[in-house]
Structures are given as C-alpha cells and as structure tokens.
Amino acid sequence: MRTPRKLLAWSLGSLAVIGAVTLSTAHLSPALAAWPARATQAGPLTLVDLVFWLFSALAVGGAAGVALSRNILYTGLALLFSLLGVAGLYVFLSADFLAVAQVLIYIGGVLVLILFAVMLTNRIGEVNVSNASLGWPAGALLMAIVAPLLFAVAVEVPWKAREAPLNVTTAALGHALLQRWLLPFELASLILLATMIGAIVIARKELKAE
C-alpha cells in the first residue's frame, strides 16, 4: 500500500513549505511574529473562527497540493478542494451568492472542463511522467521573495477596517447588477458567446477537402 504513505509525505511536504514561508515571514515582520500572542490574548476560539480556519486550511492545503503533486489527476482533485475552501471563505465575507456561483461555475464548469482536458490529452497509464516539473528552485526562490512582501503588506498596513456584520446580499447584488453594472453585464454575455464560438472553432478537427 503505497498510497497512504504518499499521502502522508505529501501533507508533510506541504506543511513544511507553508511553515518555512511563515517562519521566514515572521523573521522579517515583527507584527506577524507577535501574531500568535495577540490571538491568544483576544479570547478563546469561537465556532466561527474554527470554521474559518477549517475552510482556509482546505483552500491553502488544496493549493499546496496543486503546486506540489506529481500526478496531474491528483492536481485536479486538489484544485477541487482549494476552490471549495475559497467558496467557504466567501460566506464569511457576506458574499453568499458568490459562494454558490463559485461552486457552480468553478467546480461544476471549469474543473470538469480541466478534467476533460486531462483525460483527452494524457494517456492515463503515464499520468506520472506527463507532469514533470521544471526549475522548481527558481520557483521556490520567487516564492520566498514574493510571499514575505505580501504577508508584510497584509499584516503591517493599518487598514481602515470597520465592524462589518454578516448579512445576505444576493437580492441587493442582483439589483446592483441590473442597474449600475448593466452594460458590463451585457458585455460579459457577449464575451461568453464569443468564447463559445472561439473554443469550438479552435478545438474542432479540420475537415480537409481533398
């Protein structure tokens, strides 16, 4: 049984990557280093926090799977978990319609399309060879440069955040779409039509008349 061992190695590897990035960031940014202490000062964990951590772990763990998995099919499944976690995070930002749209469009549409492309372009027997990585030291280097910058901005900048109660926004979003953003909405439908025709034209097989 190699699969459980591979799964274990996989999750350990992603944990190591996330831990290394977080540690290097904490070294650079004093506010992030003080973060765990502040979090314990603020009081016990509530259920909302726990669910938030669960969804963000799902999103980030899935993303780590996409970045690190060698098997293209596992990469697709990891992307599914990542998108699901992001949909859960939308609920915490009172974007309930976006959460549903994320599940419908990304998981129901884009991911199925991606899996179709995987099945059509790979001979299933050799999925492992087909996903070789190229230059991962360069990628890791860029990651180590970009990540501390992003996290420092996220934590250090005194954002003018206000108390924002969670509420249901689907109806109001619909009104906003059909009043203020009516022209972009119609343009989006035009773009979708153009995309559909373009995708069919590009992907069809040429019928050569000879």
């Binding site: 926090d49 938030f52 963000s56 999103a59 993303a63 996409v66 970045a67 293209i72 990469t75 697709g76 992307l79 990542s82 998108l83 992001v86 995070l89 915490f92 930002l93 974007a95 319609f97 976006l98 749209a101 990304y106 549409g109 399309l113 991606i114 179709f116 492309a117 995987v118 790979n122 996903n131 070789a132 990585s133 190229l134 360069a138 990628g139 890791a140 860029l142 990651m143 970009v146 990540a147 992003l150 996290f151 996220a154 934590v155 954002w159 003018k160 955040a161 206000r162 924002a164 926004t169 979003l173 779409l177 972009p184 989006a188 773009i191 373009g198 995708a199 590009i202 992907a203 097989k205």
Partner: protein
Amino acid sequence: MAHVNLSHFLVVAGLLFVLGLFTVLTRRNAVAVLMGVELVLNAANINLVAFNHYVVGGFGGQTFTLFVIVLAAAEAAVGLAIVLSIFHTFKTIDVRAADLMRE
C-alpha cells in the same frame, strides 16, 4: 469580530497567490499551468471580496468578483481548446514543445 479580520483573509489570499505562481512557474504540463492561473485568480477574488466587506462596503467588489469568475470560465474554455489543438498538432502538451504557431 474578535478574531477573524481582514488580515487573515489577506494572508490566505497571499498563500493562494504564491502557490499559484509556483504552479505556473514549475509545470511543463499546459493544463497544470492553467490550474495555477485559476489559483491566482481566486486569490485576487478573495482580496476583492474581503476589501469590499471590511473596508469599502457596497457591492463594487462583489460585482467585480462575479465578472472575474465569468472571465475565468471563458479563459479556461479558450485555453483548454488551445491545449487540445496543441495536443493534436504536436502530440504533447509540454509547454516547451509548442514553439510554432503553424503546423
């Protein structure tokens, strides 16, 4: 709102962005590169919705995110059609092999 605040969402979005960037940079498989692009777009979406919720208010960020989702679907459709076309032409989807725009 004692615990979860704007910074948490920004850090999660930053992690998603960095991992998506890593995926785009290190993969040869064109489909996997497209998956990395999806991750980057999702990180941007989280930022848009988080700032909309915590800082700005209103619906600008959510509407923008909706359009980004629509455009990501369009991008995936056209991108995968191109990948299929590349596969038919070159018999591989290694991004380094596709260096010609004709047969």
